[in-house]
């Protein structure tokens, strides 16, 4: 284990995100200014997928919050949120957004694989392309389980399994085709050409295994679909691809009592 107790991939991802943070400022400004909760690259409204339920009065932790726009949506709806992210530059953007919007909540600089917060202190843990893809699944799911109270909920969004089988590269992104480019068995840790970061993607059976082995019951899997009327351009897939196959998926699990 390297210094600070960080895993090797956490250090690499921290370094990568410190250089990418500036590119994510415009997105942070757009998302913080947004009223509606909408998930993922496809921006599917929460009203449609209903992953969260009522959040008012809940203690919420966002694992790998980046610029903390998801936290901002939940804070405005009455949740007591805490954002956790390892990258100082991303948290700096989050703090500036907090000041601009007059919406303060705690931000903790840490990896979601080792969170310096007490056991059983949250009702909801959420991650949208945060810990959910940048952390080792067994490590961050274990942390989410530890941080949640019995009966607490975990909601996270990841790239679709079908997308990870067909995506030529993610940085620079090339749109997925139909050819299966890599095996499903053994899928877990991904490294890309000319990209120092490490991301993690599991197949369906492995997600169920990881969640149940850390004390969760799987409640819901929603595979986000391009609604069809959206002809928007995306880097990783075409609108037409995302009408046929799942480009993004959201899991909801409940911590057993």
């Amino acid at each position: 284990m390297p210094e600070d107790g960080l895993t090797e991939h956490a250090l690499r991802n921290q370094a990568a995100w410190s250089t990418w943070a500036e590119e994510y400022v415009p997105g942070a400004e757009r998302n913080w200014a947004r009223d509606e909760i909408a998930w993922g690259i496809l921006k599917v409204p929460e009203t449609e997928v209903q992953m969260l339920g009522e959040v008012a009065g809940k203690d919420v932790v966002e694992l790998g919050c980046g610029t903390a726009y998801v936290s901002s949506w939940l804070a405005r709806r009455g949740a007591r949120v805490t954002g956790v992210d390892l990258t100082a530059e991303q948290l700096a953007t989050a703090r500036r957004m907090q000041a601009e919007h007059g919406l303060e909540f705690p931000l903790v600089r840490a990896s979601a694989e080792a969170v310096p917060l007490p056991d059983a202190s949250f009702d909801l843990a959420v991650s949208e392309y945060g810990a959910s893809i940048w952390c080792d699944p067994d490590l961050w799911i274990a942390e989410a389980s530890r941080l949640l109270r019995p009966g607490g909920e975990l909601v996270f969004l990841v790239n679709g399994t079908f997308l990870m089988l067909t995506s030529p590269d993610i940085d620079p992104a090339q749109p997925a085709g139909t050819e299966l480019l890599r095996p499903y068995f053994g899928m877990r840790r991904f490294e890309w050409v000319d990209d120092p970061s490490v991301d993690f993607h599991l197949g369906y059976g492995d997600w169920i295994r990881v969640l149940t082995s850390h004390g969760f019951e799987v409640e819901k899997l929603v595979e986000l679909r391009n609604p069809g009327h959206d002809s928007g351009r995306y880097d990783m897939f075409t609108a037409e691809w995302a009408e046929q196959w799942p480009a993004e998926e959201m899991w909801k699990a409940r911590k057993l009592a």
């Binding site: 050819e179 299966l180 068995f185 197949g203 059976g205 679909r225 009408e243 046929q244 196959w245 799942p246």
Partner: protein
Amino acid sequence: MTSPDATHNRANWDRRSDEYQERNAAFIGRKDEPRWGMWQLPDSELGILGDVAGKDVLELGCGAAQWSILLGGRGARCVGLDNSARQLEHARRLMAAAGVEFPLVHASADEVPLSDSSFDVVFCDHGAMTFADPYRTVPEASRLLRPDGLLAFSHSTPLAMCCFDDEAETMQRRLLTPYFGMHRFDELPDEPVEFNLPYGEWIRLFREHGLRVEALVEVRPPEGAETTYRTAAETEWARSWPMEEIWRCRKTG
């Protein structure tokens, strides 16, 4: 009321039963231990059913009842259900040869003439969960199970359904069929109608009917695994991508 798909599949399986048993019966009729699926991997390795002694077990789509004969020999009280009379004739023949007796029910799994809460295990191996509509069979399986009972079934993966080439009648390393909206497959007129759903829709359907997901085992055949169901090239495909999978769900409260 018998559904049109159940009627179609009954006639189809009555017609194909003899050839099916001739091709596969020896392969799936091994008596050493319970084995799943197209590559006959042991239940003891996959961890699906475990000990069945003393349990009431219903097989949904038992065919010639190779599974139920084996589980009966391990102390289960089995009932075999199949939609095809011809398949059940083969079952009676194998049961007589094995010197065992248990009830066989001639019915479609989407309308089972058996009582609520009467089984500890409801299962099938590429059976009724493939050849009948899950929107009807999942509620039926749930109704038939006692609290804490087990639903376990193998079937083709949704990924395999997307990669099956109807014209070449083989697997391709390419997505050919849309995933969203997957439900009923009837493209091949001489084949039975098959059913499958997107992963998220399976989970939603299980939970709607009081079934908690315990595991989804994606089957990977060992290198060079033998099968009477698939070509060597298809077995090779299944070494990289899951072609069959086994769901294990628990009836709640």
